[in-house]
Amino acid sequence: MSAKMTSFWFRTSETVLLVLAFMLPLAFFLQTYDGTAIKTTVFESGTLALAFAWLFKGLERGRWELPESARSLALPAIALLAWTVLRFAFAPHKLACLQGFLKQVLCLLTYGIALLEFGGAQNARRVFGWITAAAWVAALYGLSQHLGFDPFLWKEVFGGRVFSTFGDPDFFGFFLALCVPLTLTQWLDPERDWFLRWVDVALLGLLAANILWIRSLSPLIAFVLMSLATSIFLPLFFPSKEGFKAAGLSLILAASVGAHHGHYFFGGLTSHPTQWSAVETFIAQSPWIGHGPGSLSMGTLRPDCLALQTAAELGWLGVALWIWLFGSLGLAAWRAHRNFLKQGALGESCYLAGLSALAAGFLCAAQLGFDSQALMPGWLLWPLAGMLGGLTLLAHRGSAISVVPIPLGETARQRMYAPALLAFAGLFFFPLQWFDSELEHNIAVADVKAHDWPSAIAHFDRVRPGAQSYVAAQYGKGNAYLAEDKPQEAINAYAVLEAVSPDFAEVHYQQAVAYANLENWPNAVASHAREAGLHPDFVANYVGWAQAAKRLGDLDAAETAAKKAIELEPNEPAHQLALAEIYLKEKRVADARKLEKQAAQLRTEQKKKPQG
């Protein structure tokens, strides 16, 4: 065994983790301001590198180890991983769900590696340091956006709301919330230099200011919950004068932010039950095993609740596995804190408190916001939860170790490097290729905005299967063909989309428009009916449906669709006139005239109203 090489691979995996912790919050692609695609690429390639560095370390040592005391924390993660893979294997639309599935698998891998490799206060100190360093940069960029110094054109995308390097104010806000326990834990660290503690206090102020400039409910709730969790766990696991001071600081943060924008708490939460009931209906179709990992991204459902998202994708069985995983982690942390206090392990107690606060705060806040499920900051839960688990193992020093030995000598193991490196390079190729596809997609969208349809179609065509935007690219391609007045080509593109993700966006409506252009009325009516089943409040769909049914000669269906359009938009005279035309076809002249009068009256009223 070469101790030098073993150490090299450990250092490599550690460096990769630190680079990920620093780069993921900050990475955005300057040319197109793509905050998601670049993060996905960094995440996928970085986690792959992390996993391979861990594998190579095992290869060098001739074994992989699992301490007996880590079994209770590793088993639920292995069970969750196995269930995710199994559920994906039997999911009907794998291509559309691939990215969601990969994200879940790679997050669980990160958890496992952090659990086995990065326990210990020193590791936590380093990771916290890099994340808060990223928080400084992101928060300063947020400040510059607030002051109007952002030089880029995207500064106006969210009005006056700041979004920094995240491309979305809510994702940025959730990241700021996560940084509260991290910063306060550093402040509490007995080994922290005094001037860095002042730097931490300054960062807390900057975090609070940014969260107010975001002006959004769910990050605000996350910030308050995270501060409250910090105020509970720091004095509980680190009972000292300093621990209580840190709790006081976090309570001040929670109170000042909550009081400043308290009105959001009452107004904003009312929208959640409506979204939740739609997701509950979706869950009821397959309650125990769910619809497969990544399946929610195929539709328009956004549950804004981690438990409901897990139930929808992995079923209640998946939720049970989550509870098992984080329940075991909570229990291990509770037991470890007592041991650390007995041993007088100050550094370990401090970081155990911070990591517990982060995990507890995250899990509470994630039930009230979709932003927690975004790759960034959602990914941060996994390495930090793994480190929490790894830290609890130190409370059971000297426990037996289960090993998976490699039945090969050193020379034979070294020969395995070449195929292993090739496998790594092969897998590394996919994230890079998908990133290239994301760029093509971005360029295609820019072409669409410039109405350059042939160029848009060419770029949409270069988006490869498996890329995050592959499904959207097929939709965009169909729409571009439709705009170019090529309905048959549009229908072909939508057919490809339907095979991958049957109910994406408003594909059935678009199909209906294409069929109407071809005067294929039976298919147009069928597509409108399917769209109405998915989006019952989509007015344009009923307008088109009424027209198509009228042309088909099904006047009853046309009348029903036109009436539905009027019901949804009672003040739109065009809907009244459409129904009047149907009445005329039905020889109901009096009803038609009445509607025409109503439409004329509506138009007059609208003209009288002041414009703008």
Binding site: T32, G62, G129, W130, A133, W154, D193, I401, H451
Partner: protein
């Protein structure tokens, strides 16, 4: 269990950190394989020292050394450039902030990127 497998885990066996079942497998192999058994004995620096007591002089020397360590002034060794240092994250954040600030100062408001006025989201693709 073959010889290579045993050699890959023999340090854990010597330290007594293997699980009971794995330890029994190793012991069963060592019983049958003279080469591995000999190697394991040589690898364990404390083998054959059961019951041997440390000389009094060594114990006294160790105590003195420990006492000196406790009273000695902390070594003023700079950790600035070690991997463990808190210097790196701080330096990296300062460097990136400076780059960002320079970019802001150099570019000023109004620089176009790729002509995007809105975030590129699929729903906007509808012509």
């Amino acid at each position: 269990m073959n010889c290579e497998t045993v050699r890959n885990i023999e340090d854990l066996y010597i330290e007594g950190r293997l699980t009971v079942s794995r330890k029994e497998q190793v012991e069963a192999h060592l019983k049958d394989c003279a080469a591995c058994s000999e190697k394991a004995k040589r690898a364990n620096p404390l083998s054959g020292l059961h019951g041997v007591k440390a000389p009094q002089a060594l114990k006294e020397r160790m105590k003195k050394l420990l006492a000196n360590l406790e009273t000695a002034a902390p070594v003023n060794k700079s950790k600035t450039f070690s991997v463990d240092s808190e210097f790196w994250p701080v330096a990296a954040s300062i460097a990136i902030s400076l780059i960002l600030a320079l970019l802001l100062a150099w570019a000023g408001p109004g620089v176009t990127s790729q002509g995007y006025e809105k975030a590129a989201i699929p729903s906007e693709v509808t012509p």
